[in-house]
């Protein structure tokens, strides 16, 4: 390969790192700020394990959302799907079905719903926004319909199932209490790993990135556009169903709206992560940073006992500041 005459530049390497990791630096700044404000309680193992557990559900949705967003699509129905998957499993539990049956059915619903989204987007050719917004309404309606709008809780949820969210892998003890790496955190990490391998290490992921970059070129280059889009939506659907199950386990109850808030946050996390890639494409590790920013802000601001309304203002402002910073650094370098 011919190489271009390149001028050595001392600050280049640093500039490049800053450029890529501006958002990460923003994240660390946020962490440092909370640490300095709450030196005793924020930077503790327990609090961080807590945070990981709190964001684990959002994480699973956001990680799998990354899969469709890599193709330039998005899926607005994930929150409703999480609610639906959770409700469906809980209803089966209520009928005294085995736990595994409930889980399997929820996952199947996730696949089926995802495939339906995929069919609408990829075979029929409806824009993802309209297709998945329509499906959001449908999923949510079905969740209400089958649950008759009621919350399922208490003995209906088997202990075996709700204990899962309480448990974890012992990491050691602090004081006299055992410190656990929460099971939900482990699930989220496994999903993260799976999505990372899928997107960054497999031919499937490569092709998704090609689709995201240029659909027509990808098609002419032999990428089976329709099939891959279909599969990608199914993956996102399963992710949402997994998140729905995690919610039921964590809350020991199921409610037809309990996943609804996940959608906007998940998309926001992916977009936050996108600010970290040179070409502005989503990457699942970037998404992780996005999820962490959202989770840490929530935890830290609550620890500061800031008024809920001000907290909301600050959340928005801090996110924008962090991203602005990362843009300005990139501009400057």
């Amino acid at each position: 390969m011919n190489t271009t005459p390149s001028i050595p530049h001392p600050a280049r390497q640093i500039g490049r790192i800053l450029r890529r990791f501006g958002t990460l630096i923003g994240f660390f700044a946020i962490v440092l700020f909370f640490w300095s404000q709450r030196p005793d309680t924020f930077m503790t193992v327990r609090n961080w394990l807590n945070i990981t557990q709190q964001i684990s559900i959002l994480g699973v949705v956001a990680f799998t959302m990354t899969v469709v967003m890599v193709m330039g699509d998005y899926d607005l129905s994930v929150g409703a799907m999480a609610s639906l998957g959770g409700i469906a499993a809980a209803l089966l539990f209520q009928q005294e079905m085995p736990v595994l049956t409930g889980i399997a059915v929820a996952l199947l619903i996730g696949v089926a719903g995802g495939l339906l989204n995929g069919v609408l987007v990829s075979l029929v050719g409806i824009t993802p926004f309209v297709a998945t917004l329509g499906m959001l309404t449908v999923f949510s309606g079905v969740a209400f319909f089958i649950s008759e709008g009621e919350t399922i809780f208490g003995r209906a949820i088997p202990e075996q199932f709700s204990d899962f969210a309480r448990g974890g892998i012992p990491l050691g003890t602090i004081g006299e209490q055992a410190v656990l790496l929460p099971n939900l955190t482990i699930v989220a990490l496994l999903v993260l790993l799976a999505v990372w391998v899928l997107l960054e290490q497999t031919t499937f992921g490569r092709r998704l990135y090609a689709i995201g970059g240029n659909k027509e070129a990808a098609r002419l280059g032999g990428v089976r556009l329709r099939l891959l889009r279909l599969i990608a939506f199914a993956v996102t659907g399963v992710g949402a169903a997994v998140a729905g199950l995690m919610l039921v386990s964590r809350l020991a109850s199921a409610n037809p709206t309990q996943g609804d808030g996940l959608m906007l946050d998940a998309i926001a996390a992916v977009f936050l992560g996108m600010t970290m890639s040179e070409e502005g494409e989503p990457h699942v590790l970037g998404t992780l940073v996005g999820v962490l920013i959202l989770g840490v802000l929530r935890n830290g601001l609550t620890q500061l006992a800031i008024d809920s309304y001000v907290q909301q203002i600050l959340t928005g402002a801090i996110i924008i500041l962090a991203v602005t910073l990362s843009r300005l650094i990139r501009r400057a370098s």
Binding site: G154, G261, T302, S308
Partner: protein, 290 residues
């Protein structure tokens, strides 16, 4: 003439358990009277409730029952008035445009749980409050609790949280409580959680259990006595009290009022209160159905 009577029930809040009970009781009573009951939920959207009121007014139903703040849907009420359709409040709020409003006394409920907490703490302690002011019936409760706690100089409000309710109210409340617990790590640094309705109280309970701090005797109270809260009170892990509204009673009373009005009777009372009961471990068994 009762056989082809249609009654529309308009509410943005059907997802809430309390509303469900009221609506179900109303439906049961209505169907027993031979009415067609049309329940319309606008999924939290109040402006849409106005539109739906206009729709059913245009359609010419025989009566309308609302479960939404009448001040916010006054346009819809006028549409009904213009069409000559009587409107009844079901836990809605007093309004001149309503034939009557059947409800529990929200101020009284908050007073009961807030005084319960004050008394349990003997007037000394640090309290976390969960409130939600954008929804007027819940906002009232917060005001009363504020006043009662303010009256005890040794009670300190360490946080007044408005949780995100898009997830049904439990999940976010739990995350927020976890952060508060982390910020107040010493045993005894939190004495009580006062929640303006049950979901945040349940979230707080879960957070306390997950943090392994259920032994500290943190007193948790909610309002509404929903089934999940009743279970929690019965379990005796810290969720000590809630207030049971007689939702079934409200629904039935509204149906009764509608029937009386349609029969030509004049209903004099602008508001009909249905009594509430403080639920604690002592009487919870009476409320847990089967």
């Amino acid at each position: 003439a009762q056989d082809d009577i249609t009654v529309a029930v308009v509410t943005p809040y059907l997802a809430q358990p309390g509303t469900q009970f009221m609506v179900e009781a109303f439906q049961a009573a209505g169907e027993a009277n031979g009415w067609t009951v049309n329940v319309i939920d606008t999924a939290g959207d109040v402006a849409a409730a106005v539109s739906r009121l206009e729709d059913v007014a245009a359609q010419g139903v025989d009566a309308i029952v609302i479960n939404v703040d009448p001040a916010q849907v006054s346009v819809g009420l006028e549409a009904a008035a213009a069409a000559g359709i009587p409107v009844f409040g079901m836990d809605a709020g007093a309004d001149a445009n309503l034939v009557t409003n059947v409800t529990s006394n929200g101020y009284a409920m908050a007073a009961e749980t807030a005084t319960y907490v004050t008394d349990r703490l003997n007037g000394v302690g640090r309290i976390v409050m969960f409130t939600f002011d954008p929804y007027p019936p819940v906002q009232k409760r917060g005001i009363i609790a504020d006043a009662i706690f303010a009256n005890s100089p040794d009670i300190e409000i360490i946080d007044r949280v408005t949780p995100d309710v898009t997830d049904g109210g439990i999940a976010d409340s739990r995350a927020r409580m976890e952060a508060i617990l982390a910020a107040n790590p010493e045993a005894g640094s939190i004495s009580a959680v006062w929640a303006a309705w049950d979901q945040p109280a349940l979230g707080a309970l879960q957070a306390i259990e997950a943090a392994g701090r259920e032994g500290e005797g943190i007193v948790i109270v909610g309002i509404d006595a929903n089934p999940q809260a009743l279970d929690a009170i019965a379990a005796g892990n810290g969720f000590e009290a809630s207030v049971a509204q007689d939702f079934t009673g409200i629904g039935g009373t509204v149906a009764d009022a509608v029937a009386r009005h349609l029969a030509g009777e004049i209903i004099g009372q602008g508001v009909i209160y249905v009594p509430t009961v403080l639920v604690t471990a002592a009487n919870v068994a009476e409320f847990i159905s089967e």
